[in-house]
Amino acid sequence: MATGHSRVAARIMISPAVLLLLGWMIVPLSMTLYFSFLNYNLLMPGVHEWIGFTNYEFFLTDPAFFTALGNTLLLVGGVLVITIFGGIGLAILLDQPMWGQGIVRILVIAPFFVMPTVSALVWKNMFMNPVNGLFAHAAAFLGLEPFDFLAQAPLFSIILIVAWQWLPFATLILLTALQSLDRDQIEAANMDGASKWSRFIYIVLPHMSRAITVVILIQTIFLLSIFAEILVTTNGGPGNASTNITFLVYAQSLLQFDVGSGSAGGIVAVILANIVAVFLMRMIGKNLEA
């Protein structure tokens, strides 16, 4: 029974947020779109002529783009596999009866709060360094050759670092979902003599499926934009071996000053993210109705 008066007030209260987000989204995004059709290099001042889809042609046929696209998919996929399987396992473990559950939870969640530059540098120097890293010490102890993680397997190493950061997120959300499971259902299944495994497959997993989907979608949105971890560990190298789309756009526009091509890459990144976003939005939207 909102009165007309309060409806006007409501509109006034919403408008600053709407206008700001509209400005934030429309203005820069249309600028990126516009730049992507220009021959625009920061090192060449003067007129930026309209060159149609040339930037897209260059960006999309550049071998670096395919490497970056492949790396992006590997990075997202690798981290998702580790965090989803690890997260399900950890969530189930943390849901068992034990002493000090609260403390274990705190230990497991901690990596999520470590800023990306810190976790990347700690892993790079103190663990993966081939001379002084802990892994090198461990290898020496076992009589093995030390392995130069970031030089020989740069993308794999970054996947490990990022997975460490995101495992807590998956665990926390899956644990929250697990704890809302109806215990009576499990009891009933027990009575019927269901094995642990079939309880997991037929009761626990279906119950968690929604949370798993949410974790996959949200992580994908964030993982598509991984940047800091690459910047401070490998700088995208060696060569392009650990460059993802985000890093490629950054390198082209802010390191090589090719605004036109970088903008085309930015638009490509937006389109890629939107493919995932559509599914995520649909899920969240459904929940909003309920």
Binding site: M1, H5, R7, A10, M13, I14, P16, A17, L20, L21, W24, M25, P28, M31, Q96, P97, M98, G100, Q101, V104, L107, V108, A110, P111, F112, F113, V114, M115, P116, T117, V118, S119, V122, N125, M126, N132, L167, F169, I173, T176, S180, R210, S225, F227, A228, L231, T233, T246, L254, S263, G266, V270, A273, A277, L280, M281, M283, I284, G285, L288
Partner: protein
């Protein structure tokens, strides 16, 4: 002494969970330990776990060499500033959408969320050029603005889900008693909304503190917060593990403590209410 099966399982799970927990936490523990070593002990082979001369020297040296506290202060200004500004814009908006819903409210909410899905590289260049031309590059003002905007959708969504849980009947009753919109907000709503607002504030300070795309790309020396300051340690010259660890420990400690208090809010905030 014989233990029943229940106790035995509990012991087993306790051991397994603690082992896994400590393994995941280990990199953080190792960083904290290394921060109290000398540089020589930090790279000693075999590595020293506890048997070293504990020193606070690294903490003082990090401050002396690189003016650590200026970057720390920058992080505080940016994360708290952008969160408070975001709350000022979001509280009225979320209030209106939760209590005076219209047909299009849901669409507006979804649209706001969609701006959060926009990858930052999609707008990096225009923002960078706009900041360069307006002198906002490497300023705290510029970063507060950007972080306010990127976290605004999350702030609005979190507040919306909290406000939704406040029973509407209470507002109806207040209106019956002739409460004006203003007194409704001050006397009825605010006390009930404070916990939700506090959780939103906490989570967003954490997110802004750790944000490492815009803070790295839009700052140089002056406005660099801790994310950018720590990144400067990525240059390979010299041995600096102990100092890196000291700087890292100081950068993550406050947020780690805040984070432990906000586990529940984290789930709600980052899944946009899809998992509660």
């Amino acid at each position: 002494m014989t233990l029943d099966e229940k106790t035995r399982t509990k012991i087993g799970f306790t051991i397994a969970a603690w082992l896994v927990g400590l393994l995941i936490f280990f990199p953080i523990l190792w960083t904290v330990l290394t921060s109290f070593k000398t540089e020589a002990q930090a790279i000693a082979s075999p590595p020293l776990f506890l048997g070293f001369d504990w020193t606070l020297e690294n903490y003082f040296e990090v401050q002396e060499r690189s003016n650590y506290f200026r970057h720390f202060a920058n992080s505080v200004v940016i994360s708290v500033g952008s969160t408070v500004l975001g709350l000022l814009i979001a509280i009225p908006a979320a209030w209106a959408m939760a209590f005076v819903p219209r047909k299009r409210t849901k669409d507006v909410l979804m649209w706001m969320l969609s701006t959060k899905m926009l990858p930052p590289v999609g707008v990096l260049i225009p923002i960078y050029l706009l900041f360069r031309d307006t002198g906002l590059l490497d300023t705290l003002t510029g970063l507060v603005l950007v972080l306010t905007l990127i976290n605004l959708p999350i702030i609005i969504w979190m507040l919306y889900t909290y406000f939704k849980e406040i029973p509407g009947e209470i507002l109806e009753a207040a209106r019956m008693d002739g409460a004006t919109l203003w007194s409704e907000i001050v006397h009825v709503l605010t006390p009930m909304a404070v916990p939700g607002i506090a959780s939103t504030l906490l989570l967003n300070v954490i997110l802004a503190w750790n944000e490492a795309f815009w803070t790295l790309n839009l700052t140089a020396a002056t406005a660099a917060p801790l994310t950018a300051f720590i990144a400067s340690y990525s240059s390979p010259e010299g041995l600096f593990y102990a100092k890196l660890s000291a700087a890292s420990t100081m950068a993550i400690a406050p947020i780690l403590i805040m984070g432990w208090f906000s586990q529940k809010q984290l789930v709600r905030g980052l899944t946009f209410g899809a998992v509660k």
